[in-house]
């Protein structure tokens, strides 16, 4: 039962990862690619860590997996904002 749920999460996570990468390739400009990045990618990792945490033998490992997800969530939201802001500032100043 847990195995099935874990597999389901992992496969769903992979779907979001692929959608994110394809979006990054296909979407026309930087600002629309932000969608592909921040939404799909974080959901992808979230589902993947959830799937792997269900599988973890020790509590410490499950906690670490959740910590990683939270770190990526916070870090990539901030970095994507900073990069977009940086690009925008350059565009408007030149």
């Amino acid at each position: 039962m847990i195995d099935a749920l874990s597999s389901l999460f992992i496969v769903a996570g992979l779907g979001f990862y692929l959608a994110g990468s394809i979006g990054l390739l296909r979407l026309p400009d930087l600002y629309s690619r932000l969608h592909a990045l921040t939404k799909a990618d974080n959901l992808g990792l979230g589902l993947l860590t959830a799937g792997l945490a269900l599988h973890a033998q020790e509590l410490l490992i499950a906690l670490k997996l959740i910590l990683i997800w939270l770190a990526v969530l916070a870090a990539s939201a901030a970095s994507a904002h900073l990069i977009a802001q940086h690009v925008r500032r350059r565009e408007t100043s030149s």
Binding site: D3, S6, S7, I10, V11, G13, L14, Y17, L18, G20, S21, I22, L24, L25, L30, R33, L34, A36, L37, D41, N42, G44, L45, L48, T49, L52, H55, I61, K64, L65, L67, I68, A71, V72, A75, S76, A78, S79, A80, L82, I83, A84, Q85, H86, V87, R90
Partner: protein
């Protein structure tokens, strides 16, 4: 289960490869850095799957360091140096 993990690792590596295409293509430095963020998160997921596949729990720590340092790289890209006279 182990087969699912092996195939998932391969699929995620492919996803990382797609992201790399955007890093190589650009066109602007901002596009490349944004794609770096995506391949960073993909690398984190890949390391987590590899840790299960190769039975190496330490790769979870590597994934965490990679996640944290991706933010450092983005910070380095966007920080603005003081101009002369700003001091």
């Amino acid at each position: 289960m182990s087969e699912l993990v092996a195939v998932s690792t391969l699929v995620l590596m492919f996803s990382l490869f797609l992201g790399l295409l955007r890093v190589v293509r650009g066109p602007g430095a901002g596009d490349r850095m944004l794609a770096m963020q995506l391949i960073g998160t993909t690398g984190v997921g890949l390391l987590l799957l590899l840790s299960l596949m190769l039975d190496q729990t330490a790769l979870i720590d590597v994934a965490l360091i990679l996640a944290l340092l991706a933010a450092v790289a983005a910070a380095a890209f966007t920080s603005q140096e003081l101009e002369t006279g700003d001091d």
